[in-house]
Amino acid sequence: MWEASRRKLLIAVLVLTVVVVGATGWAFYQLRYSNGPGGGAQIGEVALRVLAAQVLIFVAFLFTAVLALMSVLVAAPSISGDVESNLALGLLARPVRRSEYVFGKWLGLAALIVLYAAGSSILELIVVDWTTGYVPPRPVELIAYVSGVGLILLTLALVLSTRLAGMAAGFIPLACYFMAWVGGILGGAGEAIGNQGLIITGLVSKLLLPTDGLWRAAVYAMEPASMVATYRAAGSAIAAVPFAATDGPPPAFLVWVAIWFVAVIGLTLWSFRRREI
C-alpha cells in the first residue's frame, strides 16, 4: 500500500476525485429545478429519482473507466518494474516464496483499489443523497461490482506483468476492457433481434473478461424499481443499451467471476514461478 501511496498518481487521483465529486454534486443539485436553483418549479420526486439514477449511472460509468485505468496503471508495471530494475533479485533472494510475492502484490494493490472504489463511491452516494434525496436500492452491491471491475483489470494486468513490460501489460487489459464493453453491447443487440451469433459473441466476451457483466450488475444496483419496471416493459430491445439493466447478475455468473479470479491468479503464480529473473 505504501508503495503506491508514495506515488504522485494516488495524490492526483484523490484530488481529481474530490473535484469530480464536487462538480457532480453541483450537477445533481441542479436536477431539482426546471430553471436552476434560483427560479423555476421544483420537479416531482419520482421524476427526480429517475433523473438522478440516470445521471448517477453515467457518472458511475465514467468513474468505473477511471478506476479501470487506475487499476491497470498500478498493476501493469508492478512485477515487470521490479524485474527490470533488479529490485526483484534482492527481494526474492530473501526467504520469500514467489507465491508470497505475487499474493502480496495482488493483495496490496487490490486493497488500494477496493478502498479507493468504496471511499469515492460512498462520497458520491452521500452527495447524491444530499442534493437529490436519491439513494440507489443496492449501494453495497454497487460498490462490490464496481470494485470487481477494477479488480479484474488489476488481476489481468498483473498476470501480464509477469511476462511483459509495463507498457504492454497496461495496454492489453485496457483494450480488452473496451472490447468486452462492445462485446456486451453486441450480445445485447443479439438478444434484441434474436441473432445467435451475436448472443454467443456477447457470452464469450463476458466469460473471457467479466467486466461488462459486472458493469451491468452495477447498473441494476443503481436503478429504482420504477426504472426497472419501465425497462422490463420495453422488452428485449433494452438489452443492447449498456446503461440499462432489467435484472441483477445471475448467481452462475458471479460463481464464474470467482472462478475467473482463482484461475487468473493461479496463472499469475504459475507464470512468475517459471520466470527467469
Binding site: 508503495e3 508514495r6 506515488r7 530494475s85 533488479n86 529490485l87 533479485l89 534482492g90 527481494l91 526474492l92 533472494a93 530473501r94 526467504p95 520469500v96 516464496r97 527467469e276 529473473i277
Partner: protein, 316 residues
C-alpha cells in the same frame, strides 16, 4: 532425547558442510549455454573470489546458487541445503550487480523492508539498520530518500542491505563497480571485517587486484566452466625468478632446467615455476658450478597474469 540428538547431529553436519558446493551445475537458455557445468567448493569462513571475463556466466552462477533461476543440470548446496531452499536464505545476504531501490523510500526504510523480508525480529530492526548504515558509511544519510543518493551511495546501501541480520554467507556481485577509490577501500575493510567475524563471502568481481587483496580462495571461470580453482598461493605458485649469470658454459646453463622451465637469453636466465623457497638452491648451484651471479630478481606473478595465462590456455 533421540530427536534432540538427531537434531544436534544434523546441526553439526550442516555446520561442517561447505558454505557453498556445486557439482556440474549448468544452465541453458534455449540453445545458449550460460553455464556448462560448474563444480567448485567454497569452505566456510573464507572470502571466495569468483572471476571470469564478461559473459563467462558469473552472474548466472550467483543467481543459480541463490535459487533465482532454475538449473538445467547438476546440483548445488548453500550452507548445507540444496539450492532453491527458501528457509536457508534467512542466513544469506546478497548484493546484486545492478539494482535500483524504490527511489521514494529513505535508505533506512529500504533496510527496514529488508529486515521484514529477512524475517528478522521486529525488536531488532532499528539496531540492525543503524549498525548496517554505520558499517557502510551512510549513518548520516539514512533518513534521506534513495533518489538523492549518488550511484556510489546506492552501492553502499545495497551492501548494507546484504549485511542485515549478520548472514553466515554473503554473495557480493561486483560490490565495488560504482565506487571511487575511497569507497573501494571501505568495501575491502568491510570484507576483512566480515572474514574476521567468520562470515563466508562469495565475491564476484572482475577487478583482479581487488580480489587479490581480499580473497583466500579463487575460482576462475570461462565459457561457463571452472578453469582453475584453489587458494591464491596455489594458483600463483607458478612464479618466476631471473638470474644475471656469467661464467657458465651452455651445458651448465642448460642444467638449471632441473629447477623449472628455463628461458636463457645469454645474459639473463629466467626460471619459471620456481617457488620462493628454492631460489637459494639455484643460487648455490650456480655458484657451485663456478658461475658469477650479479642479480637475482624474483618475479611475482599477479592474479591478472595468471588469469590471462589461463584464459589463453583455455582458448579465450
Amino acid at each position: 532425547m533421540v530427536d534432540l540428538q538427531e537434531r544436534q547431529a544434523a546441526a553439526a553436519t550442516a555446520a561442517a558442510s561447505p558454505a557453498m558446493h556445486c557439482v556440474a551445475l549448468s544452465k541453458r537458455y534455449g540453445r545458449t549455454v550460460a553455464l556448462a557445468g560448474l563444480t567448485m567448493t567454497m569452505p566456510r569462513g573464507e572470502v571466495f573470489g569468483f572471476l571470469g571475463p564478461n559473459g563467462a556466466g558469473k552472474t548466472t552462477a550467483v543467481k543459480l546458487l541463490l535459487g533465482l533461476v532454475e538449473p538445467t543440470g547438476g546440483e548445488g548446496w548453500v550452507l548445507g541445503k540444496p539450492v532453491g531452499d527458501v528457509p536457508v536464505r534467512r542466513r544469506v545476504g546478497y548484493l546484486p550487480e545492478l539494482f535500483r531501490y524504490q527511489p521514494w523510500l529513505s535508505g533506512a526504510e529500504v533496510m527496514r523492508v529488508h529486515c521484514e523480508l529477512a524475517r528478522l525480529r521486529r525488536a531488532t530492526w532499528s539496531e540492525e539498520v543503524d549498525r548496517a548504515l554505520r558499517l557502510v558509511g551512510l549513518a548520516d544519510r539514512g533518513r534521506d530518500r534513495v533518489r538523492t543518493y549518488s550511484k556510489g551511495m546506492q552501492q553502499r546501501l545495497g551492501l548494507g542491505v546484504a549485511l542485515l541480520g549478520s548472514p553466515e554467507l554473503v554473495f557480493l556481485d561486483e560490490p565495488t563497480s560504482a565506487l571511487d577509490p575511497i569507497g573501494r577501500h571501505d568495501v575491502r575493510q568491510i570484507i576483512h571485517h566480515l572474514r574476521e567475524r567468520g562470515t563466508s563471502v562469495f565475491l564476484n568481481s572482475h577487478l583482479l587486484t581487488e580480489v587479490e587483496m581480499v580473497c583466500d580462495r579463487v575460482a576462475m571461470i570461462d565459457q561457463g566452466r571452472v578453469i582453475a580453482t584453489g587458494t591464491l598461493d596455489e594458483l600463483l605458485s607458478g612464479s618466476a625468478c631471473r638470474f644475471r649469470v656469467t661464467g657458465l658454459d651452455p651445458g651448465q646453463r642448460a642444467s638449471l632446467a632441473s629447477f623449472g622451465e628455463l628461458d636463457d637469453d645469454g645474459e639473463w636466465i629466467v626460471i619459471r615455476g620456481l617457488s620462493g623457497e628454492r631460489v637459494p638452491e639455484v643460487v648455490q648451484e650456480i655458484v657451485g658450478m663456478g658461475g658469477r651471479l650479479y642479480a637475482v630478481e624474483p618475479r611475482h606473478q599477479t592474479l591478472e597474469d595468471r588469469f590471462l595465462q589461463l584464459l589463453g590456455e583455455n582458448g579465450g
